[in-house]
């Protein structure tokens, strides 16, 4: 850990100003990831701007009929909010699939969007890592990569994005509202996280000094046919090897609209609109779901230890779509897969 100073921001403007003028400054809210990374010398901010007192912890109705979830709403509060449970059960379920009650009590909505990868090498400052120290190499590519990405990797980085919440937000096409020195702007979930390319050190399109204000959930009708299926190495408290957020709008016997996002397989929640379109107007069937899975995974690339993820992702997509179509979402308390 490095020496750092700590400031508690009294207003959004002040918080933004403090960070934007100091490249070594970071916002801190729940701290469940940042403090961890500081202890491991992965993050070494010289200034921490505490934003926990800012008025960003409300969940509000939007004019358009959606919900606006403040950046400081804890994961626990979001997951248990009756409006979210009723209208966006996919989000509630995804949040409950992650972490532990203690972590969900402290972690915030904004912080969850900014979780950093759990790549072993990124976390170990005794090893090279392009994400941690650009240009040093990616030992994961030819090392222990059982948990690593199969889609959208680059020669520079094969890390995955670790959040469960974000996978649901991607499927729900949430919008991230941010404040910066030049005012506010909105970033769609699809554009929020990045693929590693040749700048794996940059996880998101958030600019330095921009602060997440809220996540807006557009009006949606995915309260019946949805599921969040998370597959991992133990039945709870582990990051996803593969996860699938599936949401369907079913009209009679056919699928009117499909949303599908994958976690644990790429540097960002993975969506494929063409694959989703393949489901539109189709009857729900395992065969069709398998075709969609194959299509999504058409460019999947495995490394030494993670070839199983391609097969697992294919199976998970089919299972999740079947769960969603049947209206039998995966329970996050009963660990038995339905």
């Amino acid at each position: 850990m490095n020496r750092f100073s700590y400031v508690r921001a009294e207003s959004i403007d002040e918080a933004v100003r403090e960070v934007v003028t100091d490249p070594t400054a970071r916002f801190i809210a729940g701290g469940t990831n940042l403090i961890d990374l500081m202890k491991y010398n992965v993050e070494r901010p010289e200034r921490l701007i505490d934003i926990t007192r800012l008025p960003l912890n409300e969940i509000e109705e939007t004019d358009g009929g959606g919900l606006r979830v403040g950046a400081l709403v804890t994961n626990d509060a979001a997951a248990h909010d009756p409006r979210i449970q009723a209208r966006y059960p996919l989000l509630s379920s995804a949040i409950m699939a992650g972490a532990s009650p203690q972590l969900r009590n402290a972690a915030t909505t904004g912080g969850n969007l900014l979780q950093r990868t759990r790549c072993y090498y990124f976390y170990d400052s005794g090893t090279p890592c392009n994400k941690r120290e650009p240009g040093t190499g990616c030992p994961a590519s030819f090392g222990r990569n059982r948990i690593h990405a199969i889609l959208g990797t680059s020669n520079h980085c094969i890390a995955t994005h670790p959040s469960d919440m974000c996978v649901a937000l991607a499927a729900l096409e949430a919008v991230v509202h941010v404040a910066g020195p030049d005012g506010t702007r909105a970033i769609s979930m699809a554009d929020f996280h990045r693929l590693p390319g040749d700048t794996p050190e940059i996880d998101t399109n958030l600019r330095h000094g921009e602060m997440i204000l809220a996540v807006e959930l557009p009006p949606a009708d995915f309260g019946t046919n949805y599921t969040y299926l998370k597959l991992r190495d133990r039945l709870s408290y582990a990051f996803a090897l593969v996860s699938v957020a599936a949401a369907l709008r079913i009209d009679g016997r056919t699928i009117a609209e499909a949303r599908l996002a994958l976690g644990g397989v790429a540097h960002k929640p993975w969506r494929d609109s063409e694959a989703e379109n393949m489901l539109r107007g189709q009857a729900a069937s395992a065969e069709r779901f398998a075709d969609v899975a194959d299509y999504i995974l058409r460019d999947a690339k495995a490394f030494d230890d993670n070839a199983f993820k391609i097969d697992l992702a294919r199976r998970a997509i089919v299972t999740a779509l079947s769960q969603a179509a049947a209206g039998t979402p995966q329970s996050q308390t009963d660990k038995r897969i339905q």
Binding site: N2, R118, G126, D233, F308, Q338
Partner: protein
């Protein structure tokens, strides 16, 4: 004789339970001292090579930093290897922290930064700049195994494989049914909840009081004294509580060395706590390649057993454990060949981990036996009964007791084994395939020479003490029970003191031997107090016991009474008054019986039954039911003993499905060094665990008939689960842990 209040054999709450749940119990890193300084260890980034430079200037420039210790400025310590050998050390040259510029494994401590505050030390540690010249390392057992060798010097206390009997190779060739496979269990790290820590309190005159995370206070004490050339009177190690260890606290670890060195150099108190990732920078359960060949007749009777193991060790020590001997110990066979070899890899030396050797060796043989059951079409229990042995054939000895048959029978009944359709994939519940499997468990019943003291005072309070440890097993409680029953006092009137090097001599707590060893020592010391007390009681004027012998009296409720006439009694206080003493003290040793060990072998046994549910489509396994029937002689405290078996079973579930320390062979480094990525079972992974203690009369090992239960619970559990997965899916996975990727193959 132990019936007085009848505490023994009856479930008792932990006497230290309240202290533990209220936080009153203090662990090594929780002891405070005036003017305490804090040390943070800097770990090497490379696996092998040389340190070419260390630049500590930036670290030293941080306000509050006191010193940065490296090999360049360390203090002089003992010269000879023997000074560094602790009581559990394997043969070789023990690792010496900060000894020279050589890096011999990844994560090796290369500097200790000491500061006024923990955070300052942590900050400064990140600023120490170290340059290395790297050498080629080797951490892959599959490359190292070609150079494997039978250890030339045997490790004390570890039985080597017995000489071959019969002609196992020829018998295998001739056998109508053959099983021949390789089995692996991944490297595991102990990962106790409490990380290793040492708080060294520097007292005036240079005397050290050390709170160390250790399974043996005296082992740490003698190590510190011999390494640093101190009189043992000047080193006291006090470790009343240990937050789990599983073997990782058997050997004095490098944080102890570093903390003591810094305390002596700086002449002040210091605390060094390892981080969770540093908990992966010393001993581990070694990776072992096991090859088993079983030859049998169509009737399932074994005609040949061959079991070969190659196991990793470090280049500087020949770690050894008993891996292959169990195959013949469990089953009758006339043609047996067992071999055990070591392969050197550039990691730290492995350290015993709960049921060392047996946990992995029995996993292999019990998986192979399940394969034989399927190859011959014989029920797995019936197969084991057909090959049952009443003798330790390798050593031509009988068993002190062996109720394994009863374990099979009682466990099978409880589990409902008779309803099992042996056909793989024959049971299904919704998406899940259901499988039932079983395996045998075995662990040696060991007793070690141990001393204890008992002090009875006039107020009726009894204190018993020994330098043994309680690593969470319940030692405090069972010693209290034994003392209370021996002297006929209430448990509330007994205080047990352990975990202090100044107490009567005890070996480390390990090998499941503490209940038998420290328990017998406490019992013996209390018996001596009892005899003295009785002598005083008889001497009392007009004593109602004047003509009685000690066999004719009962000690109960602080009184000695005539068994045939309980109205005739003398209180302890009266007896002590008559003797003119206000306290009665006795120190005694208890030793294993040489006569017994020459004629008999002592082991605990178990039969483990597992039910799994496998989502074959997604490779997800749930262990929904375990029945573990254990025969381990006298069970002193069924409550804490059950907890030991529960913990052992959870350990076994981890071995079966989750635990694996992943080495990156390019870097020579363990990579998943956190509890987020090194998976141990969580609550959601644990369903029903049913523990049965099978009645077993044991009268040869020690007077109480105790065998110990700390380790038997893990042995066999992983195999039972693997066998259940085969029954569920028809897939035989011989490489533990059985993870999603292996199930999907």
């Amino acid at each position: 004789m132990l019936q007085a209040n009848g505490y023994i054999g009856v479930p008792q709450n932990r006497v230290d339970g309240r202290a533990k749940v209220t936080g009153a119990a203090q662990y090594a890193a929780e002891f405070d001292a005036p003017n305490l300084a804090y040390g943070i260890v800097v770990s090497s980034a490379i696996a092998k090579g040389r340190i070419t430079s260390i630049d500590a200037s930036a670290a030293l420039a941080v306000p509050g930093v006191i010193q940065v210790f490296t090999h360049e400025n360390r203090s002089r310590t003992a010269w000879f290897d023997r000074s560094y050998r602790d009581e559990t050390a394997p043969p070789g040259s023990p690792f010496r922290p900060l000894y020279d510029d050589a890096v011999v494994y990844s994560g090796q401590p290369v500097a200790l930064v000491v500061a006024e505050e923990y955070e300052i030390a942590a900050c400064a540690a990140s600023l120490v700049q170290i340059e290395y010249e790297t050498d080629t390392h080797l951490t892959d057992i599959d490359l190292a195994k070609n150079e494997a060798y039978a250890p030339p010097r045997k490790r004390s206390g570890v039985k080597e494989p017995p000489s071959p009997r019969g002609d196992a190779e020829e018998a295998f060739v001739q056998a109508p049914v053959k099983i021949h496979h390789e089995y692996r269990v991944a490297i595991e790290h102990h990962n106790p909840m409490e990380p290793h820590a040492s708080t060294v309190i520097y007292q005036e005159g240079g005397k050290l009081v050390i709170h160390d995370k250790t399974q043996g206070a005296q082992n740490s004490q003698s190590y510190v004294a011999s390494v640093f050339g101190l009189s043992s009177d000047d080193v006291q190690v006090v470790a009343p509580f240990v937050g789990g260890a599983f073997g990782s606290g058997l050997r004095p670890q490098y944080q102890l060395f570093l903390a003591v060195m810094a305390a002596l150099e700086l002449k002040r108190s210091i605390r060094v706590v390892l981080t969770r990732d540093q908990m992966f920078t010393f001993g581990y359960r070694p990776l072992t390649i096991q090859t088993i060949s079983l030859g049998a007749g169509p009737d399932g009777k074994l005609q040949s057993i061959m079991h070969d193991a190659i196991q990793t060790t470090s280049p500087w020590e020949d770690y050894q454990e008993v891996v292959v001997n169990w195959s013949n110990l469990l089953y009758h066979c006339d043609n047996v060949k067992l071999t055990y070899k070591l392969a050197q890899v550039d990691t730290y030396t492995p350290i015993d981990m709960r049921a060392p050797g047996a946990a992995i060796g029995v996993t292999a043989i019990e998986t192979a036996m399940d394969e034989l059951a399927y190859a011959t079409g014989i029920d797995p229990i019936e197969l084991r009964l057909r090959n049952y042995t009443e003798t330790d054939e390798a050593n031509k000895k009988g068993f002190t007791s062996k109720e394994l048959r009863a374990c099979y029978q009682i466990g099978a009944e409880r589990f409902g084994w008779s309803k099992r359709n042996p056909e793989p994939r024959s049971m299904r519940d919704g998406r899940e395939l259901v499988g039932w499997g079983m395996a045998t468990g075995v662990w040696e019943a060991i007793m070690q020479k141990t001393a204890a003291r008992a002090v009875l005072t006039q107020d009726g309070k009894l204190e018993v003490s020994s330098a043994t440890a309680d690593i969470g097993t319940g030692t405090y409680t069972i010693l209290t029970q034994i003392a209370a029953d021996t002297l006929g006092v209430n448990m509330e009137d007994v205080t047990a003191r352990i975990g202090d090097s100044s107490l009567p001599k005890s070996p480390v707590q390990g090998g499941s031997w503490t209940a038998a060893s420290a328990g017998s020592a406490v019992q013996t010391a209390c018996q001596t107090v009892r005899e003295k007390l009785f002598k005083y009681a008889r001497q009392m004027d007009d004593s109602p016991l004047a003509n009685a012998s000690i066999e004719q009296v009962t000690f109960a409720n602080g009184k000695i009474l005539l068994t045939n006439d309980p109205s005739s009694s003398v209180t302890f206080a009266q007896a002590m008054q008559a003797g003119g003493v206000d306290r009665i003290e006795a120190e005694e040793k208890a030793s294993p019986s040489l006569q017994t060990s020459m004629s008999y072998s002592g082991y605990s046994h178990s039969a483990v039954f597992a039910e799994v549910r496998v989502d074959e489509g997604l490779g997800i396994v749930r262990v929904t039911r375990i029945v573990n029937a254990v025969a381990a002689g006298t069970i002193l405290n069924p409550k804490t003993a059950r907890s030991q078996i529960l913990g052992g079973v959870v350990f076994g579930i981890g071995m079966a499905l989750e635990e694996e320390s992943m080495l990156d062979h390019n870097l020579g480094r363990f990579m998943n060094h956190s509890l987020a990525e090194y998976h141990v079972p969580v609550n959601a992974d644990i369903y029903d665990i049913d523990v049965i203690f099978v009645s077993e009369h044991e009268d040869k090992l020690n007077p109480m008939g105790v065998k110990g239960v700390g380790e038997i619970g893990v042995v066999g559990t992983a195999a039972a689960i693997g066998n259940a997965i085969y029954h569920a899916t028809g897939k035989r996975i011989r490489d533990y842990p059985i993870t999603i990727d292996k199930l999907l193959k």
